[in-house]
């Protein structure tokens, strides 16, 4: 029998129609919807008198522009309109919604897995590029635009060209103090923001197998920042155990049956990929970005590079523009860069284990006076779990603000904005110009590195803090 990758297996299970000279028509098993990229799609349905074909496979929440201080005070009237519009649309088309008052509310890519909606072998789409997060479960999950949202609502299918497969193999074991965020940042720094263009990536290797589901989600979340259409990890027992007992996962006998099917989806021994890239986990140190795309970064022991170090004219120019925007001089030691803001949150790093890692560093320390630091749990459930463990106390005693769940300062569509010229250590996934606010300067780091930056007032190798005065 032909050896297949998990990507090919899922693909083949979902082809509704295949014709020469056309993309494949794929069936979608789960469609996640949020308030920002859906209004025009519902409007389109209404204008054409169409209905939602599978409301039972559609799930909505509001996350992008919800307030994180007082959930019921939405200062921006347009944000409010978007939230109300989603409510109306869900009611009209019969879609389940975790609204602002719902205990399941949270960032769409945090709650899908948490509720057990995300499962191995599913095709999952959402009008949001970080849908790749769900790939951690061995699902084929990718972001789509609003026209495609409308298309999936109306037909439960999507036209897609079969992607090429790219294996990213992370060999060996991670060093002390290095987190899964550092793996993906190191991969992007090494291979670039185009490495995955036209591909779906599968992460393999000893270091990936050793990761928890939450850690795998961080990696798949950012596969899109390496240009990939999607990123995933073959299902294994870690995947199965995470899903056991979750509300929307199969229960009892059915679960055991499903688990067998899930495990059989894993890439076959000896299957081939269109391309393979490798990296050694032992070589990865805690990472941080210095520029304006996620590949402009390095290990924390590094320096801000000079444009002259790059060969291609286009790269020299991008680096020149980036340093100018970031207000950085070539040759500066990364640990000499100070911070003004710290944001711990986003669909990349706002899950319980992320908050635990940050709290570990914050415990018994104080946020520097010149730093504003906020912690935004990924969902109401994460928030409650963290509070039950007393993480909120650790953070607030250290001088961090403890907020309600949402996307928040990841993209600053609500009131959580980094002011112009200010520098932010952020656990999110994008350091583009203006992402966290007009003129804001973003440095991407792991949760523990972000907490270290907060208590030191500058970027710091978190490994130096471990064990000190605790």
């Amino acid at each position: 029998m032909m050896k297949k990758t998990v990507i090919e297996k899922i693909w083949e299970n979902h082809v509704v129609s295949r014709e020469e000279g056309k993309p494949d028509l794929l069936y979608i098993d789960l469609h996640l919807v949020h308030e920002v990229t859906s209004p025009q799609a519902f409007e389109g349905l209404r204008m054409n008198g169409r209905r939602v074909r599978r409301p039972d496979l559609t799930y909505a929440t509001m996350d992008h522009n919800v307030p994180t201080i007082n959930r019921h005070i939405v200062n921006d009237p347009i944000s409010k309109t978007q939230m109300q519009t989603l409510e109306q649309n869900c009611r009209e088309f019969g879609i389940e919604l975790a609204d602002i008052d719902h205990p399941d509310q949270g960032i769409v890519h945090v709650i899908g897995p948490q509720l057990g909606l995300t499962q191995p072998g599913k095709t999952i789409v959402c009008g949001d590029s970080h849908t790749s997060t769900h790939g951690a479960f061995g699902a084929l999950a990718f972001g789509i635009g609003t026209s495609e949202v409308e298309h999936v609502l109306a037909t439960q299918t999507i036209w897609q060209k079969q992607p090429k497969t790219l294996q990213i193999k992370v060999n060996g074991k991670l060093g002390f103090g290095v987190q899964s965020k550092d793996i993906i940042l190191a991969i992007i720094a090494k291979f670039g923001v185009n490495a995955g263009t036209g591909y779906v990536m599968e992460f393999t290797g000893e270091a990936i197998r050793a990761l928890s589901m939450e850690q795998r989600m961080t990696i798949c979340n950012m596969s899109i920042e390496a240009g990939a259409r999607a990123g995933l990890v073959s299902p294994d027992m870690t995947t199965v155990e995470y899903l056991r007992g979750r509300r929307y996962a199969p229960q009892g006998e059915e679960f055991e049956e499903a688990a067998k099917r899930w495990l059989a989806l894993a890439t076959d021994e000896g299957a081939t990929y269109d391309k393979t890239l490798e990296i050694d986990a032992a070589d990865i140190e805690p990472q941080m970005t210095w520029g304006t795309n996620p590949s402009m970064g390095s290990g924390i022991s590094g320096f801000v590079p000079s444009p002259d170090e790059f060969d291609r004219e286009a790269d020299k120019e991008s680096v020149r523009l980036a340093l100018d925007y970031m207000g950085l001089e070539a040759g500066t030691r990364l640990t000499d860069i100070s911070v003004d803001y710290v944001f711990i949150g986003s669909c990349t790093n706002s899950r319980l284990s992320d908050l635990r890692a940050a709290a570990e560093v914050a415990r018994g320390r104080k946020v520097q006076d010149h730093v504003t630091a906020i912690v935004v749990p990924g969902s109401q459930t994460v928030k409650q779990q963290a509070e039950a463990e007393g993480l909120d106390k650790i953070f607030t005693e250290a001088g961090f603000q403890w907020r309600e769940s949402g996307c928040s300062m990841c993209l600053a569509m609500n009131d959580d904005v980094v002011p112009p010229g200010k520098r932010c250590a952020s656990t999110s996934n994008r350091n583009f110009e203006g992402r966290q606010g007009n003129g804001a300067r973003t440095h991407l780091v792991s949760p523990s590195m972000a907490a270290a930056a907060a208590v030191m007032g500058r970027f710091t190798d978190v490994r130096e803090l471990a064990g000190v005065n605790q």
Binding site: L25, Y27, E43, S147, T155, V193, M413
Partner: protein, 199 residues
């Protein structure tokens, strides 16, 4: 969607690589619930300063480029957020054609679905066009049927495009209607996998 085949227009060059969708349409303008009206915000942070004054040094603010309908830019155009507001904004502003060496996948799909032709040329060809287009009034002729880009002084380049996308653009088809015309197959798939009929 308006069909597109032969097209001639004034070119605006933006010589930057990795122009992301946050630059094309900053997120503070995403909150509208309609599709129209985003053009006024395209490249907002490059066109306007913090006080909302025009930045004179940005090319789109140069009246000589004001009626450009073809945008030429560097590689990896449209990377970043999947927001479809980016092609809506470009289209609403008046761009029907984009030319770059490469595009982010989602942006590319979103563009075609909204009737924007995103042309891929080689680095060299794009470089030539960026140079020639810095002279105001420079025009290009695009022929989708022939998959060609030409100017009036001897530049000719051919581009690849997926035959399916080409057909959609040439005919101005709405994808949902195309899919629903194949509904029988969707129904069969649902019967097989979900054991039920949904329509």
């Amino acid at each position: 969607m308006e069909p597109i085949n032969q097209f001639t227009g004034v070119v605006c060059p933006i010589n930057r690589a990795n122009i992301d969708t946050d630059q094309i349409i900053p997120k503070q303008f995403l909150k509208r619930i309609e599709r129209q009206g985003f053009g006024q915000f395209v490249f907002y942070n490059w066109r306007f300063d913090d006080d909302g004054n025009k930045r004179e040094d940005f090319i789109l603010n140069d009246p000589k480029f004001a009626d450009a309908e073809i945008l030429v830019a560097g590689e990896n155009f449209g990377c970043g957020s999947s927001r479809e507001h980016a092609p809506w904004a470009l289209l609403d502003y008046g761009f029907r054609i984009i030319i770059a060496p490469s595009y982010a996948d989602i942006f590319y799909n979103n563009s075609v679905k909204n009737g924007i032709l995103a042309v891929k040329l080689t680095d060299e060809e794009v470089k030539t066009l960026l140079g020639r287009a810095s002279v105001p009034g420079f025009k290009l002729h695009i022929n989708l049927e022939e998959q060609s880009v030409t100017d009036d002084s001897g530049f000719t380049a051919y581009f690849d495009i997926d035959p399916y996308w080409k057909k959609m653009l040439l005919n101005g088809w709405d994808e949902i209607s195309v899919t629903l015309s194949a509904e029988e197959r969707i129904r069969q798939f649902e019967e097989k996998v979900y054991g039920k009929q949904y329509s």
